[in-house]
């Protein structure tokens, strides 16, 4: 057939831009590469630094000469930039080179900050582990968003759902378990999960039953959760007089945690952390390998088509949003019963929004979202680490706020430059009404 028209070609939106994203990214890497080789490498201290693999004393690790590494990364950037303008044969290596360069930004930041600090060494395995731990609520939150948006409901209320889970779970633990007993701890985590489900069902009713704008409904959830948990804290939690408690405890995975040097650091962790992996794997399996998952995805793409095939769109959307809420509730429990054992106002501190960013970064896939969460978790861990190292440039200590923000800036560059356009489910945000 000669026709080239597509009736439902949603993915091929036309892009008419003068400079392509690839070209701009290539140019940025080119400029950076030159700056690193000609400007930064000669300027930084040539004394040897060390990445440790385990805590002191006498840790294993590798030493390195900072200017050499800076030059090596600079060369990589230049190669990526030049390949973008190379003849077509060589140009196909440009895209992987750009991705590699984007990833190399992470060691670059590490090498530079260590070179600019008074400390000669830092433990990077431990930094990686901290990233994974800090990624826990982000990955869970992103999975919440994944379930909602894949079914067609945009959930801006992940933050509030987590906060409600954190607050209500801890309140339960403090009032009936005095924040001390492991039996009640598990019961309270279950309450967190259920509280998350309950808050999500409020979102579901507002946006599915009543067709309220989903962004507005999500904002309402966030404000409601902030107010409710604030009230519960001052009226219930504070009045119990409990200030400390026993949270979930660490355990090592059999065999894996026996691996020398890294095993003890990477394969020991707390239960909600481990459950995060199960949730991500389970989400991938159910969403992409089961009939129900196929139906969920169809509701987020074209609910009317799903309806003509006898899929109950309304029911599927309720189920997905509430399932997402249960996962967000678990993320809430991580804040108040695993990471710390207490509850503070606005304890989740925008994790729900960062989780949404991770979801978009990961292009609405479970593994992508996990990757995004890991990147943001790393950004947080690195921000903290940089503060401890005390980075100085020409004798001035860089303010800690700036150091905390820096990894996120790097992340933005990675997202804009290497990941590219991310296309949401086609029907996300659109209310659905059954035919009459």
């Amino acid at each position: 057939m000669t026709t080239v028209e597509h009736a439902v070609g949603a993915s091929g939106a036309s892009e008419r831009v003068g400079l392509s994203r690839q070209t701009v990214t290539g140019l940025v890497f080119g400029v950076l590469g030159v700056a690193l080789i000609a400007g930064v490498a000669p300027a930084i201290s040539g004394t040897s630094r060390r990445f440790n693999f385990e805590p002191p004393p006498d840790p294993a690790g590798i030493g390195f000469h900072p200017p050499t590494w800076v030059i090596a990364i600079g060369v990589l950037f230049l190669v990526a930039a030049v390949l973008g303008f190379a003849p077509p044969d060589a140009r196909r290596y440009a895209s992987p080179a750009r991705l590699l360069s984007a990833i190399a930004l992470i060691p670059l930041v590490l090498v530079l900050s260590l070179a600019l600090s008074d400390n000669p060494s830092t433990n990077i395995i431990n930094l990686f582990n901290e990233s994974l731990v800090l990624a826990t609520p982000l990955a869970l939150g992103a999975t919440t968003g994944l379930w909602c948006e894949r079914s067609g409901i945009i959930n801006i209320g992940i933050e509030g759902t987590m906060l409600a889970g954190a607050g209500i779970g801890y309140m339960t633990y403090a009032t009936i378990g005095d924040a001390q007993s492991t039996g009640w701890l598990w019961f309270s985590i279950l309450i967190s999960v259920l509280a998350g489900g309950l808050v999500a069902s409020l979102l579901a009713v507002l946006s599915i039953r009543f067709g309220v704008n989903q962004i507005v409904a999500g904002v309402v959830i966030n404000l409601f959760a902030l107010g409710l948990t604030g009230f519960l804290r001052s009226e219930v939690i504070v009045k119990t007089g409990i200030t400390t408690g026993v949270g979930t405890s660490e355990f090592g995975l059999p065999l894996l945690s026996e691996i020398p040097v890294i095993g003890d650091q990477l394969f020991r962790g707390k239960p909600i952390y481990w459950m995060m992996y199960l949730v991500v794997i389970g989400t991938w399996l159910v969403m992409f390998r089961t009939p129900w998952g196929l139906r969920v995805r169809s509701c987020g793409e074209n609910p009317h088509a799903a309806e003509t095939l006898g899929v109950n769109v309304i029911r599927i959307r309720y189920q997905s949003v509430i399932l997402g809420g249960l996962i967000a509730g678990l993320a809430g429990a991580w804040f108040s019963m695993e990471s710390q054992t207490r509850f503070e106002d606005n304890m989740t501190n925008a994790a729900g929004f960062i989780a949404l960013a991770a979801l978009i970064f990961g292009k609405w896939t479970p593994w992508g979202a996990f990757g995004g969460a890991l990147l943001f978790g790393f950004s947080r861990a690195l921000g903290t680490r940089l503060q401890f190292l005390g980075v100085e440039v020409s004798g001035f200590e860089i303010p800690s706020e700036f150091l905390q923000a820096l990894p996120f800036v790097v992340t933005l560059v990675v997202v804009a430059g290497a990941v590219g356009r991310s296309i949401p489910p086609a029907a996300a945000g659109q209310p659905f009404q059954r035919s009459k």
């Binding site: 028209e5 597509h6 009736a7 036309s14 399996l285 196929l294 095939l309 006898g310």
Partner: protein
């Protein structure tokens, strides 16, 4: 043609369905025999889609009964209809572009191994169906990347996968090219040959006579006649559909062409993806003639029209109108010269969906003194003008202050035509002027275009409907890969000759 071989598989008796403000179906009855193709014919808004949506369980009837193989049924949703062996291919495909063909087909009826999807088995089943009915589809292709014809095959396989033996096809040929239509008729006959029964909705009379065993004509929600295909003619069916005698052949006097008004030389332009689709085209349209451009869609029609009208930059060549070079003029400047444009894409370039009928009627003139003073819109003048145009062009609307998206497609098109054909015209560029319209509206719009020609306007007509091109044009150019493959006098043109030019770009066949 397959003969009606078995008993009645579907009986619809006295169905009535009302929506707020309209009775869409009023006491409609219909029977479908096994192995038969039953055409449901009617103008837009006659209630065809409403009727089949009830048979398919998407709507619930207010009154009346539906019997499948003699058994009365009450469908709650389309799942119930599917369970009774009813399948439907919707006019707007109900497909999920980002899913694969296999995923689209199994959705709702998944093949599983334990708790998980079993795509391997699904693939084998789909291949078997494709083989049996001659519907080639690749189970692993992404649906959004398929052509319209391929997507339609996916829809058919989807219904067959659910063991449908009553198939409802809602305007299946509206989106197909002439070649694809022929293939499609072949598929339909192989389906009835294997015992499937088909309800075929259309408003194209030629098709009805080509495939139908029986024909039921609906008008304003009521059945106005059921007949067999033998004995029916296009004229008799059209009269039944519209409710009055339809002037079928467009009556027009001999053209009396004057000086060239539109002159296009070596024009080049690109589509949205930057592919050159107009590749050095020459055409000249004289005052008082209609120059028709035929061609398979995607050969540069859209880009040609948009470039002439100033909506898309020319990458080469020149456009001259009324003796002035207009190649890089803005659309407004070209319009002010006396060039009207009826765009192909009604909703994107023709109307502003959320504006009222009145505002849409003055979209090209709102800034004139008559309608605005010192930047303030003169509502009284606009409404007065709109009332007059609505009257003159017979636009069916609740009022000039109704938003235009509440009107049917045909009436929206009449609004566009009314707006564009008003004023002091020298040239008219029309693309697909009657796409998706019913017989009555088509007749009306054709008459208007002829009227303008007789007043000395140069008309460039681009249409995918060969019948339309042949009955309206004075000269016909066939567009093939961005250039005119040949120009013929309409009086001498035959369908075969044009078809050959459209398919191969050469009158001798394979170029």
């Amino acid at each position: 043609m397959a003969q009606a071989s078995g008993g009645t598989v579907l009986e619809v008796e006295g169905i009535t369905k009302a929506f707020p403000g309209v009775v869409a179906n009023d006491d409609v009855s219909l029977t479908l025999n096994q192995g038969e193709i039953h055409c449901l014919l009617g103008e837009n808004g006659a209630g065809k889609s409403t009727l089949v949506n009830m048979v398919f369980g998407l709507y619930r009837p207010d009154q009346g009964t539906i019997k499948v193989r003699g058994e009365e049924v009450h469908f709650e949703d389309s799942g119930d209809a599917i369970a009774r062996g009813i399948g439907m291919v919707h006019q707007h495909f109900q497909l999920i572009p980002v899913f694969t063909v296999a995923e689209n087909i199994i959705l709702g009826n998944e093949v599983t191994k334990g708790a998980f999807l079993d795509l391997d088995t699904a693939r084998r089943q789909i291949d078997a169906l494709a083989e049996r009915y001659g519907l080639a589809v690749d189970p692993d292709a992404t649906v959004g990347e398929l052509s319209v014809g391929e997507q339609q095959r996916v829809e058919l396989v989807k219904a067959l996968f659910r063991d449908a033996d009553i198939l409802i096809l809602d305007e299946p040929t509206a989106v197909l090219t002439p070649g694809e239509v022929d293939d499609f008729f072949g598929v339909v006959e192989s389906l009835t040959g294997q015992g499937k029964s088909i309800i075929f909705i259309t408003h194209k009379l030629r098709e009805v006579l080509a495939v139908a065993d029986r024909i039921t004509v609906l008008r304003s929600g009521r059945v106005v006649g059921t007949t067999t295909a033998e004995g029916a003619t296009q004229q008799s069916l059209a009269n039944l559909m519209v409710g009055r005698d339809v002037v079928f052949r467009v009556d027009k006097a001999e053209a009396d062409p004057g000086a060239p008004v539109v002159r296009v030389q070596g024009l080049r332009s690109q589509d949205d993806r930057g592919v050159e689709t107009v590749t050095g085209l020459d055409v000249e349209v004289r005052a008082g003639e209609i120059f028709g451009i035929a061609g398979v869609e995607g050969n540069g029609q859209r880009e040609l029209v948009e470039t002439i009208c100033g909506m898309r930059p020319a990458t080469g060549g020149r456009v001259e109108m009324l003796g002035q070079e207009t190649t890089h003029w803005t659309p407004r400047k070209i319009h002010e010269l006396g060039v009207a444009h009826v765009p192909e894409n009604r909703s994107k370039h023709g109307v502003v969906a959320q504006y009222t009928v009145a505002d849409n009627l003055v979209l090209n003139r709102y800034h004139h003194r008559q309608f605005s003073q010192r930047g303030v819109r003169n509502a009284a003048a606009i409404n007065a003008e709109a009332e007059e145009l609505v009257e003159q062009f017979d636009v069916r609307t609740p009022g000039v202050d109704a938003t235009i998206d509440t009107l049917s497609g045909g009436n929206q098109q009449k609004v566009i035509v009314a707006r564009e054909l008003t004023g002091d015209l020298k040239a008219l560029i029309v693309a697909q002027p009657t796409r998706g319209l019913d017989v009555g509206s088509i007749e009306f719009i054709h008459r208007k275009i002829i009227e303008l020609r007789d007043q000395g306007v140069a008309v460039l007509l681009v249409s995918a409907e060969l019948d339309e091109i042949m009955s309206l044009s004075d000269r016909i150019g066939v567009l093939y890969r961005g250039r005119l493959a040949g120009t013929v006098d309409a009086a001498d043109a035959t369908r075969e000759e044009l078809g050959l030019l459209m398919a191969t770009g050469s009158a001798e066949g394979q170029s």
